[in-house]
Subunit: 315 residues, 6 copies
């Protein structure tokens, strides 16, 4: 099947897609038009709809699924769709979510399976209880199967956070034998729970925005409060050393507070420090991987917003 | 009554005091001596005890109350006690705590009275419940009547934190009428609870050290968790706007995260920003006030560790 | 009366307004047009004038008052005027200044009254002379009744600086009783004179730009030189402690030099430090207040350029 | 066998050790004494030698091996040796180097074996040639079997650099399968060669100091020049992509230049970024590991100079 | 002769110029157009070519020389060319390079002469050999006669690097007598070689882009490697003090590493520090000179991107 | 003649010197002693006076000139005097100032001559008046013939500021021909007046301390106020372009305000920027020159507090 970004200049496109943003304007001939951003699993493209009627202008809302008939043109060096016909999709169209948004390449069930194995491997009853309870909460569990790891930076696609967690678990398992002072169970629990607050910091998995609690409290403290809530429910003392250690790792996983990247405390154990670097590695490798994969065949260099410089394919 | 720092060079001192630190050494004649730091409500002074016996060396422990007979001498430009006789105090000596450590000049009951008035003035039932519950908890209440606001920087004396809170309450009440967008009840509650976590971040009011939870979690998040605990107990929803706002003010009261001073989020409401500056004002004024008060009559300038420069008496 | 920003999409607007900026262009049909920014007391809006004649192009200059007949349209998500008819206003139109530019909500005479009371309250003859002389200078006095506190950041409207001063005076009066080491007269004089240099750093109150002396010397040093000029005139010795203290507070009111915000020295007295924080509070509260007031009813969050993040209405 | 730091206060010590530093002084009785720092594989301790003769004062030089007969005393809270008798060791004493300085716990031959396996695993003939040539150079090879990874921070003991390399190789091998965009051979070669310049930046493995070339050029550029020298010798073109990539990884391994930690360029490939984080992990884990290992049984917290804060044992 | 930027609004332009950038678009009437940036020795101007044919669209490539017949119009406050006729130039047009790109005002032969004199003045045989060899290499020599000192910041025109070198040589000669601890020969050699790596860091003198080695290694290390290559060829020992000093000056000429401006080491000799400041002076003076020269007669202030603020003509 | 630092360990010293600091202590035998810092033109050395009488303790004050009979000993690796006999010098001793404090190697009259020539070379009557008036003021003139350029960093010796000015004048004269956009007269005037405020920021030339005005206002603004005072006296308008330019150069000579080094504005003209770098060069060359000159013959590297790293002699 062919997706939005697979079409070349001059081709005709008939497909379903998602409205990501919308802006109305008035042309020099005084008729109205819409500037749209449309998306499907291949990514995002801008589109122009000339001479839009007031009805259509109302119907086409952000997050709507629409069917378009359009032509690919070049505008300021980039592909742009000029839409000839458009209508909002209905249930009858049976459009599958996975065709509409970018998605982790790994199936969600496979990721969940690995997550479960990691939970089962925990030896500490305390940490096993906390992690199990956290991810088996129906609301959290549903979100964890769909949310991205963020709005823009890395793993920013459907069930991207779960992919990030599973990738971190693998990295942690592989490095731990080298550094025996690291607390295995705390590190595993941190991999799983470090960003758990993001499931409530962000609004939804399709077009995520920051929620009000997300902006006021932040996902680090939100995650810590989820842990404490579970402890209270299960009678786990809040002064338990493993609980303190897990919370410390979550609160410090953005690095030293002097960096100004949003940790609430600076890491003070080998486990906390190691996790911070693993998180840096996994997020950077994912972001650079996306940039390199989207690079044109004939290019050697491409700009990466995550590291704010051009990166090299390396051959 | 005359205290340790009131004695001049050459005078004899017979008094009770607290052992703040202790270090053993061996003199060039091979006999043992002790370097001590002794303190009472007037402050701290170094002392030397030559030819100490093994028994005495054991008895004189940090946080012990002792009775000394000593002479004031000058050593490297500073006053120093040379102890002739010493013994550990007993219950029979009936030494009063307030003679042994520096203490807020305002009586604790007067401060508590003002705190209670502020609590009673809260119109929001939610915030009133949270604040009341927090300070009426027996453990917390006891600590709040004795703990300093910190180890070194400002209000670092007996019931200094309570004095700091009451001072902030006064400042907040006075400025609020000028800035109507500030949420009065949230600001009052923040004044009272912003450092409440310090009561558990520090070990005790006499010779405070950082506790393990204090170093791993920090007093901002500890305070927020105390608020959440009370909400759970009283069925106050965690998504309540006032609760979110209060927690936001606590988490952001060290200023923007880019500063690297330990906020977990940057302030995003007028109330949060105003509180941060009030806290800066009250802590700086207290610290500079101490420096200026301790200044010698004939000096115009004195070094202040808090602002890392010399400050001027201003006349 | 209805102002520029009160009109909705589709409405016709016939009103007087001020030309804030102007840019000529050539349309694809080779005719010329103007992109204008027009303003009145309600704020600023962009406008398009198609098929402009060379005469009109010349007449419509920045800072001109014009009368327009236009329609409100939407362009890239914002309201824009499309002008059908336009002419330059004449004296006969009797357009009142207060309808043309944003203005403090408090009447200037009320503000001036409060300023005068503060001056009269000064006990120090030296400081009273300096402040009185400064604000009674005819040129300065006229400017102080009209200038904004800045081009963009806070109190950026007609007699905004005076409003800022009066607000600071109120804040200072209210906090001073709490911090007895602060020098009352110096603090009051600093509130009044800290930005006095801005009256010459900026060109005019309508469309202020930075003057050449303003850019080369800056308003801190300009203010200090005004103080020194008055001292010389009145035989006040430049080494007078109060004069030094006042100048120190002016030179340090942007905070520590390490911040890189433009202080010439770092604050070294309680008075200087307190004033810096009061200035931060008053400017931030004003800027956030404007953002919150302009927020749409249905929004919870709005971007504030002053704190470079989204702020919350807080309910 | 018992080493310097194994002795307790009051015990008599008769052993061989290394003079690390020496300072002469005059006692109040006008006789001369020496303050020494003595070391063996257990670490470093201060020592006092009273009434030293001019001959002895000359004989006891830094880096000399001496035999002492001394008593352990306590001085300012630390153990100190008071030396009764001392003489310089001779060949006849047959003192083994490994008893005199701290040393990696892993035997050098085992480390070298692992290094060789990594070299053999390289598939790129270019990189294999470069790495082989580098470590088989007799001078470099000898140094690599003895030098620490630095003067103070991490792996600062005999053949510590080799241990660090082998540890990095293990970490790299383990993480690479997770990040397929990383160039395996370049990463392995970087693990081996990233600090190769340190072998000439430092003077010797016993009491390393910075050499003049080390201070003027730095070990990053020194390492790159060693790579280029080998390329020239073997006719490998300097523009070869793998060579450029290897040199890039060496030059950027201290992180982004904006950090100011001494990289010559910022990393621009996944391989370069990954290596930087692996190096951070391995050096921090080693340093924290040493601090935690040296911690007293009864302590929960100890200061780590590498992270400039107290760290927690984590139990 | 009249160049691109000499023409005023409304004038017709018939001239040769260079295509600097090119972007295709589709107008609202569905015909294609090109947005071009055209340049000649007077600078750069944007141009529009409406209704472009596919053939023409192909022919007009970046770095092509074209002949245009166009009119100057005003677009968004700037001059813009609207092209009526255009063709690609051929050899028969005999267009001289110096009419097509901005160029140092000083003839290249005069600059080269001064460079040669500086080389001849070197007393150190070692440094004389290195510098001579470096600039007489045919490839390097050709590049040095044409390359700019950078893409954007200063001396960014034909043989701009050579002009920068000669200007630095003059500055160095003039200051050296004042600072006798500076090593004359090393300073002269550094003036000549400090940016020699730029000749390979950049692609070409007409429309320079960063090369792959340039981005991976950087011109500082590239220059140092050129020096080492020459040393190897001539048997100059790499540990020679003058060679080390020269390399140190090259590696540190961007200032202290803490600044994050890309030095590989911080300067540690008077010569290295002096050179850094001379380089700052010469580059800033050149950049500001260009801004001031391009300023309109009636302006007092103009924005300088190099210092990121407005600068004053100073009269 | 032999000075304090010329004597070696074991030698007897009989000489006049200056008391730089004094500290009383009590020995273990309960007798009093003094720790002194003594200085003469060769530098500073510590000294011990055992068994001091109360009378002597009173007589020996900081800044007193004393005559000592002492022996050089070694204490903690440094030379130290042990004083056998001491008395305060009287007028009858006819001790010459130049033997007592470090002093510029260039005679003051020669420096003053060069200063005068620079003043005479000014073409601008305005600037000539300002500079002449400034340095001919009797108080200022006297101070300028004796004050150091600072307490510690560079030119920190008798008439060091004058030497610094003359050195800057030479550097400015030499570089100006290369940068024609620099305003010659403003640059010359800035060389002379940039630190003129230091003459009142510091207390005296022998043992300079910061004065109260110096700490509250700082030498940049103090200098600018001196310039304004002269302008007022001579009827030079404060808005005069040359005066503004001169004041701008003084206020910006510590570099961009973002650096946090104490400029009141960032430099905005070529003249201001050039002067900042010349000042950096001259101060760094002087400081490094002192470090290199004091280096022991056998050392290659020495620590420089000014650049906070070891510097290399460079051979």
């Amino acid at each position: 099947m062919k997706y939005l970004l697979d079409y070349q200049e001059g081709e005709r496109v008939v497909t379903y897609c998602l409205v990501k943003s919308k802006e109305a304007g008035v042309a020099s001939n005084q008729s109205e038009y819409l500037n749209l951003e449309l998306g499907d699993r291949s990514g995002t493209i801008s589109a122009k709809l000339w001479d839009v009627t007031p009805e259509l202008k109302d119907e086409i809302q952000v997050k709507a699924v629409i069917k378009i008939d359009a032509t690919v043109q070049s505008y300021r060096g980039k592909k742009q769709l000029v839409i000839q016909r458009v209508r909002v999709a209905t249930a009858a169209d049976e459009v599958a979510m996975e065709t509409l948004i970018p998605m982790s390449a790994v199936p969600v069930d496979e990721l969940w399976q690995k997550l479960t194995e990691a939970v089962n491997s925990l030896k500490s009853p305390t940490l096993k209880t906390i992690v199990t309870e956290a991810i088996e909460d129906p609301e959290t569990s549903g979100r964890l199967r769909s949310f991205p790891a963020g709005v823009r930076m890395h793993h920013q696609y459907y069930h991207g956070l779960l992919e990030h967690i599973v990738s971190l678990l693998a990295a942690a398992e592989r490095l731990m034998p080298l550094y025996p002072l690291v607390d295995r169970d705390v590190l595993i629990a941190t991999c799983i729970l470090h960003d758990i607050g993001k499931l409530y910091e962000l609004s939804d998995p399709i077009a995520p925005e920051y929620t009000t609690p997300g902006q006021l409290i932040g996902h680090l403290v939100m995650g810590v409060e989820m842990v404490s809530g579970i402890c209270r429910k299960h009678g786990i003392p809040l002064g338990d050393a493993e609980v303190l250690h897990l919370k410390h790792c979550i609160l410090s996983h953005h690095g030293d507070i002097e960096n100004g990247w949003g940790s609430a405390v600076s890491g003070k154990t080998p486990t906390a420090l190691l996790f911070h670097y693993l998180d840096m590695i996994d997020s950077k490798m994912n972001a650079l991987g996306q940039t390199l994969t989207e690079m044109k065949e004939e290019e050697e260099w491409a700009y990466s917003a995550v590291v704010k410089r051009k990166i090299w394919r390396g051959y």
